[in-house]
Amino acid sequence: MNLLDMVGLGFDNLRRTKLRTALTTLGVVIGIGALTSMISFGSGMQKNITETFAENDLFTSLFVTAADVEEIARADPDRVQEFLEEPPAPLNDETVDAIRGVEGVELAFPELRFPVRIQVDGDETRTLLRALPATMASYKPFSETTYGEFFDSDESQEVVLRWETLERLGIIVEEEPSGIAERDTTGKKRSVHPDSIIGTPIVIISSALDVSKIPRNPMQVLSLAGDMPVKEVATELIIGGIMKQASAFGSNTWNAGILVPMNTAREIPSLGFSSVWEILRRQGRGDTYASIYVRVDDVRHVQTARDSLESMGLNVFSIADQLEEIKRGFLIMDAVLGAVGTIALVVAALGIINTMVMSILERRREIGVMKAIGGSENDIKMIFVVEAGTIGLAGALLGLVLGWVVTRIANFVANSYLLPDDAPFINFFHFPVWLIFGAVAFSVVVSLAAGLYPAVRAARVDPVTALRHD
């Protein structure tokens, strides 16, 4: 008897007990549906994050910070002496130039950012200003400016705003503006066409040191409370472009409300830091910058570039490292979700065993007949194994459909009710090819394993007792 015959006989038996087969298969369908939808959730989260990393070019990005004696002491006390004798390069323009000369480095520029207030059309909000070189226009995510254009020179007077920043100003940018935004309850928010924003002046109000307010007499410092030696300076620029809406998984690497050309930003008076942490870090180091962004030309060169930078005594940090951590986290999440799904499948497998053991009791005589006319134990075993495998295969295919449908519904519900209305659509679930084939293989293997015991029992049916006439 060949495999085709066994499949034929197996199918024949399943057809005869349609309801029972359907119910047993339903168990597998639910098991595989649960398993795949759970794993697809873990997989979807991982995909979203990885894509966001890729979208922001984070796999080729390195962040250089100044080496810190405390950190070195913690990591390797023996290096402290070396560090003190030959202090590493401070983060200034010379170092930026030196980094540009490192093999594999495509571009390097200092991190220049500071808090500002911005005013557009009379509305005001606070945000973080970030200086970027015009060359970034060719890299993601800046190459995908939704409206207008990224600035074309480091001296340009045009700035790029994030969609969200405008929203905070009460301006909803839409291709088809409705005039009044739907969410507007106060009457302040308005939806406008991008064309009416591009080219609009923007006032950037930054804080700068006011030399005139610095006390001559050091004892006077105590009375300065409420009157810091700081003045506000307004700079007027023009809105040249608007970034697209960030996804919910958006990384905060480029998290700044307003992007200003590098040299233009240098002209804007500022206190030159955005956090107290930075002041502490830079103290007495002669650093001009808090950190330097480095982009490597190819993922394969990241490690060598990194080694070169570290040999310059610089601290190098890569977000891609964090991704590995995140992936490990997802692996654990996948395993937990997978385990829950597997329990459902194990219950389904018990259903298969139960159905088939019952089936053997009913088919004792038939099994006896098959043996009497020449069926071997292996033939009988295989017929039952094929039946179990068929249930597993059908259950897996239908289970995948169920899992897909359930995740579509869950996705719709999550996007409709859980996320803010204006957030871009997120696909929380992802069915990679390995999951599809893996689920089918897993289901078939589990079902075959479940069918093995009944199959062995069937093969051992004693034909003499089975055929004894009633």
């Binding site: 005589r365 009497a372 020449g374 069926g375 071997s376 134990e377 033939d379 003499v464 055929l467």
Partner: protein, 231 residues
């Protein structure tokens, strides 16, 4: 040399601590082409002997050699091969698969016999015609009379061209007229096709009438083995 040589065959059924001897040392030789009837009272061991020769069961001791190969030395695969190729079995209660048509029942035996899919239908049809059921191919057992069902069983037993036909009370469930037809059919197969037939029956008259030899069992022993002249 005999086709089948049964030597000092013993079969003891065990149920827990109780041993029930079914055969207590049976020896018998059967030549090719013989028509043997095994007679005896209920529980005398007739069916047990037939099942052992058919390879459905294994002996406790002793041997059954078919063309020199000993069934007691065969594994389950070897016994399945023996049932498939060497013997064809017919039972009192027909033992047809109820949800399959006459044709499918015969074809199933061909399936186990390794006959290619494409040839099965034609061969099963030819076998059913041979037993006079050419018009009942697609009927299921419940749509057939007892005699017709037993003919299907006969066709199925003949499917893989066996050398020996093993018949366990083949007419036990049939009225006398139908029984006569079946007996005649079996006798024709024995005479015309040279098929060796071993039939268990308790109808001594029929046994004596058609058999070349009647073996009588009593309490698991052969008590008589007389050569009869077939009519």
């Amino acid at each position: 040399m005999n086709l089948i040589e049964v030597t000092n065959l013993r079969k003891i059924y065990r149920k827990g601590a109780v041993s029930i001897p079914a055969l207590r040392g049976v020896s018998v030789g059967i030549a090719g082409g013989e028509f043997i009837s095994i007679v005896g009272r209920s529980g005398s061991g007739k069916s047990t002997l037939l099942n052992l020769i058919g390879g459905l069961d294994t002996a406790t001791s002793g041997s059954i050699a078919v063309r020199g190969s000993d069934l007691s030395r065969m594994d389950s695969g070897g016994l399945a091969e023996h049932r498939r190729r060497t013997v064809g079995m017919v039972f009192q209660s027909f033992n047809l698969i109820s949800h399959k048509s006459a044709l499918e029942n015969v074809a199933l035996a061909l399936t186990f016999g390794g006959v290619p899919r494409g040839e099965r239908r034609a061969r099963a049809t030819a076998l059913l015609r041979r037993v006079g059921l050419g018009q009942r191919l697609d009927h299921t057992p419940s749509e057939l009379s007892g005699g017709e069902a037993q003919r299907v069983a006969l066709a199925r037993a003949l499917a893989n061209d066996p050398e020996v036909l093993l018949l366990d009370e083949p007419t036990g469930n049939l009225d006398s007229a139908t029984a006569r037809e079946i007996i005649d059919l079996i006798r024709d197969l024995n005479r015309d096709a040279g098929l060796t037939a071993i039939m268990v029956t308790h109808e001594q008259d029929i046994a004596r009438e058609i058999s070349t030899r009647v073996i009588e069992l009593l309490d698991g022993r052969v008590v008589g083995s007389g050569r009869e002249e077939a009519s």
